[in-house]
């Protein structure tokens, strides 16, 4: 995303577009990445409830995937999971 100049942004740091935090990709903050084991997961949705960044994507009451563009790797989902289905795996630089 190209950053705008001072003449093209609202004054005072105001944000005029509600919910635009989604445009700010925080995935790069992560050092550990949550990896979900589909076999173990019971879709209890506790991880979805606890995730502070709304990064557990649910469709029709089932967990579909994890939004890695916004997940900061806090690990709360992994701690809350009652069946140990989410492991935190260290991020490695992809070649």
């Amino acid at each position: 995303m190209k950053e705008k100049g001072w003449k093209d942004i609202p004054i005072g740091g105001l944000i005029l577009e509600p919910g635009n935090a989604k445009n700010y990709k925080t995935g790069s903050w992560r050092t550990f990445k949550p990896v979900r084991d589909e076999e173990k997961c019971t879709h209890c949705l506790l991880c979805w409830i606890y995730c502070p960044d709304s990064s557990i994507i649910v469709e029709d009451g089932k967990i579909k995937n994890i939004d890695y563009e916004h997940c900061k790797g806090c690990g709360i989902c992994s701690v809350q999971c009652p069946v140990d289905a989410i492991k935190m795996v260290e991020e490695v630089k992809e070649e």
Binding site: W6, I9, G12, G13, L14
Partner: protein
């Protein structure tokens, strides 16, 4: 039709605020500003203004309440002095950064310590980089006029910055003077209605105030503030002319007093300008070409206007009612000297620190300053760049 009344500086400030009739007043009393808040409380209790009076527990809360009120679309005002201004410091910067047109009388008082309640400019001068516009008042009439104009300046769409209107503690705040008061209706029409285009209470157009602003955009927002200050220079002059239409009193960024042919010029701001006028008149009687340049608007700084006004001058003295510890002189001196550096011909320029903690400044002392300027004009030599007026050795 204007009414002519006798009012103290604090009383006339309260009278101006009554006529402006802001939506929210959040203030905490502090000497010598107390009478402003006391009067406003009385006005609210008597039903003379419809403002919501928020009796806060500190100045930090006063400015915080004003920020919230202003962001939600209300016209918000407060008033303070010295340590009160120091206590609201954090939010003073935030008000300017969020571009909220809050108007605040600052009754100039020396900052502690040791504790002192009398006049100097250490409080408002400390806030000169906070992003607030600063208008200094010479007398009670100017306090009234500046406050009414401040609302229109602050809320101008090109500006949207908060404004401090300063008045010298006790010297003006507690001194009764003859003041012309406009009709309520005239003031009401002049200030108009405040419409915040981005109100927090506008549910159809939601807005976020004060989000995290890091290295990617903070700099751009500061650049905008600089631009708004620059634009304010023209707006302040325009509002000063408009104000003349209802009051007969016109205002610019500076006031030139017997300056056209002046060879020796003193530059000052606040009530001391009145004392200097007295000295200038006496010296003119004696044939000395003395003049005064009064700075009304210190932020934004009218460097160009000051340069233009000092055309035929032979020597200049700048009076500072605050010390800038460790600097090369007082804040007014530093600013003026920097502007005058643009001139190809160097004017000899000296600085006097005076009146700290309410120390009186007398006509005789100012005449002494002009005598020093005469010597400098004659010898072309500055012996002491920064000196002190009225301090005991």
């Amino acid at each position: 039709m204007a009414r002519v009344v006798g009012l103290t500086g604090d009383e006339v400030a309260a009278e101006a605020i009554r006529q402006i009739n802001p939506d929210v007043i959040a203030a905490y009393p502090i000497t010598p500003q107390t009478e402003i808040v006391q009067r406003l409380s009385q006005f609210v209790a008597d039903g003379l203004i419809s403002a919501e009076m928020v009796r806060v527990e500190s100045e930090h809360s006063a400015m915080s309440a004003c920020v919230g009120a202003s962001a939600s679309g209300a016209r918000a005002m407060t008033a303070t002095s010295a340590n009160g201004l120091a206590l609201m410091w954090e939010i003073v910067y935030i008000a300017a950064s969020l571009r909220l047109p809050i108007v605040m009388p600052v009754v100039n008082r020396a900052l502690s310590g040791p504790i002192n309640i009398h006049c100097d400019h250490s409080d408002s001068m400390g806030a000169r980089d906070s992003g607030w516009i600063q208008l200094y008042s010479e007398n009670c009439q100017e306090i009234y006029d500046n406050l009414i104009q401040a609302v229109v300046i602050a809320e101008n769409k090109e500006v949207l910055l908060p404004v401090m209107v300063t008045l010298d503690g006790f010297v003006l705040s507690h001194a009764m003077e003859r003041v012309e008061i406009l009709e309520d209706e005239e003031v009401k029409n002049f200030v108009g209605e405040y419409k915040n285009p981005h109100s927090l209470l506008d549910l159809n157009n939601p807005v976020t105030y004060g989000p995290l602003d890091l290295y990617d955009y903070y700099f751009e927002h500061k650049r905008q503030q600089v631009e708004a200050m620059e634009k304010a220079l023209r707006v302040i002059q325009g509002v000063g002319k408009q104000f003349a239409k209802i009051s007969g009193r016109s205002y610019g960024l500076i006031e030139e007093y017997r300056l056209e042919d002046a060879e020796l010029v003193v530059i000052a701001l606040g009530s001391t300008a009145g004392t200097i006028k007295e000295a200038v008149d006496e010296l003119r009687e004696e044939g000395v070409k003395a003049g005064l340049l009064k700075i009304r608007c210190f932020r934004p700084f009218p460097g160009r206007e000051i340069n233009e006004a000092l055309k035929k001058v032979e020597a200049v003295a700048i009076l500072d009612r605050s010390a800038s510890f460790g600097a090369e002189g007082g804040p007014v001196f530093l600013e003026v000297r920097s502007s005058l550096f643009e001139k190809t011909e160097r004017i000899p320029i000296i600085n006097y620190i005076y009146g700290l903690g309410g120390r009186d400044i007398k006509v005789e002392e100012i005449k002494g300053v002009y005598q020093t300027l005469q010597r400098i004009a004659r010898t072309k030599r500055v012996e002491k760049r920064v000196d002190y007026l009225g301090v005991r050795e």
